[in-house]
Symmetry: C2
Subunit: 299 residues, 2 copies
């Protein structure tokens, strides 16, 4: 009853014929022989159940019903073209949106250069970046608010997939004039007895550091929130600290030195979290590809 089977070819043929008022010329524009074009128009008229053209052998003109249909046909063609082009723009990465959640350590130090390259390549794709702690990163992916995430924990929800992304070595940071600064590699035990400046106990870095140092205990524990504060403390000679390599940019200062920690190396793992039940959009795929290609190497 209400399921006419029309094709864009029919509609385009109709519009061309309405404008050119000549089967011969309209057929040429549609790259069809004139009889085939004639049949196409006939099939359209049959599909919509109305005679759309009055053909005398000498002249072709729209019927009143045809005039009525012309508006709709043009609108439909335009809408269809716009819809398909919009889709194409997304596929071709000329448009779109990608959302990424990442640990602040990654978001501040490593990510900006990646995003700059991404924006240079796909200037019209919107970037939605969240710097969040690992748990919130995972939650954002789970809730669909992020296409994928880089976090320091594995996801345990069934609809989420976790894969290793990179490893992050722990480093000792101390003043250049500190005794430990003389060594190139430092074993964990060497930290014993030194004053430590540390982040708040809730921070994942702190938890990982504590776990790595165990059973060593820290001396003069602090509860700082910001790594830049830690850096200030260390620079002032209040102690040493241990941080993952991705955060070392906070400590780039002439008075400070950084040394890899542990043999074998002490490290934490960063994971890539994504939904397993939903494909990534083209834009997200593109960002993911770039992220993987510019993955930080082991340092």
């Amino acid at each position: 009853m209400s399921e006419p089977n029309l094709s864009t070819r029919q509609l385009r043929a109709f519009v061309e014929l309405a404008e050119l008022r000549s089967f011969t010329r309209a057929a040429a524009r549609c790259h069809l022989s004139q009889p085939a074009f004639s049949a196409l128009i006939r099939s359209l008229e049959q599909a919509v159940g109305a005679r759309l053209f009055d053909r005398t052998t000498r002249t072709v003109g729209l019927t009143p019903e045809g005039s009525l249909f012309l508006d709709g046909a043009q609108r439909l063609l335009q809408d269809m073209q716009a819809t398909v082009e919009d889709l194409g723009a997304h596929v071709a990465l000329r448009r779109g949106r990608v959302s990424l959640a990442a640990l602040p350590a990654l978001a501040a130090g490593w990510l900006p250069a990646v995003l700059q390259e991404f924006r240079g390549r796909y200037p019209d794709i919107e970037l939605d970046i969240a710097d969040a702690l690992s748990e919130e990163c995972v939650e954002r992916v789970r809730a669909g608010r992020a296409d994928f995430a880089l976090a320091a924990v594995r996801a345990n929800a069934p609809e989420l997939a976790t894969e290793p992304f990179c490893t992050d070595r722990f480093h000792l940071v101390c003043r250049r004039d500190h005794p430990l600064a003389a060594r190139r590699r430092i074993a964990i035990g060497a930290l014993a007895g030194h004053h430590m400046v540390s982040l708040a106990r809730s921070s994942s870095v702190r938890q990982l550091v504590e776990a790595a140092l165990r059973p060593l205990q820290m001396r003069s524990v602090m509860e700082l929130e910001q790594l830049s504060t830690v850096a200030g403390m260390v620079r002032a000679g209040l102690g040493i600290t241990v941080v993952p390599s991705l955060t070392l940019f906070h400590f780039e200062h002439a008075d400070l030195v950084t040394r890899p920690l542990g043999t074998p190396a002490l490290r934490r793992e960063i994971f890539l979290i994504r939904r397993s039940d939903r494909a990534l959009s083209s834009a997200a795929q593109a960002l993911l590809a770039l992220v993987m290609r510019r993955k930080p190497g082991p340092r």
Copy 2:
């Protein structure tokens, strides 16, 4: 480049699959075998140049691009259906508009019953009726402001076609106590010497009456605009008048009698005027058919 050839079948298949998330069930709804349905979806994906579904063997879901396209596909289908239905409504005379221009004599006396029948049959078709003198009737058709017209003149424009519609006998109207009222048929010559009440010289009725009576001259000529005024004058005994039969309803009064005039009958012809270069809309065709069927017979 920008001419994707989509069909409504593809769009409908796409929407069904997006909703049912099952090739098997969606194929059934589309009355297709499952492999044929699968091919249909594949052809759509190829046409728009994007993968729209993610198929694992166990589950089917839209890709992000597919979600994007779903809105457009649904909108397109709905618009197409509405457009075709609107066209169908016009063809089926459930909707539309017809414009008719007719002489006041026809518009007042004969037309109302015709329109009433038309409206009874096609209650939702808008009627645009103009009562106008013959020249304006023709002009309205020429300008496209009327689909067709009933007038007392032939059209001479090349894009207009004129065909006879009906003939309109002239009648004498006089008081019942007038000497002429005694006769059943009255020759033209019998009018000589009687006082005449007449319309303005510009009226077509007046011109036709004068031509018909020639070389007889009228006595006590008046310049009235309205036939109802003429009727009043005749009733008052100021004279007799001659009018075409279609206007006789103005003179239906107990004191008045009407008599056919002339042997052979004195008559004017009413013509149907329409454009020859443009077809009539379905609504106009329907009204025309009814008008022809209820054509006034010779009286």
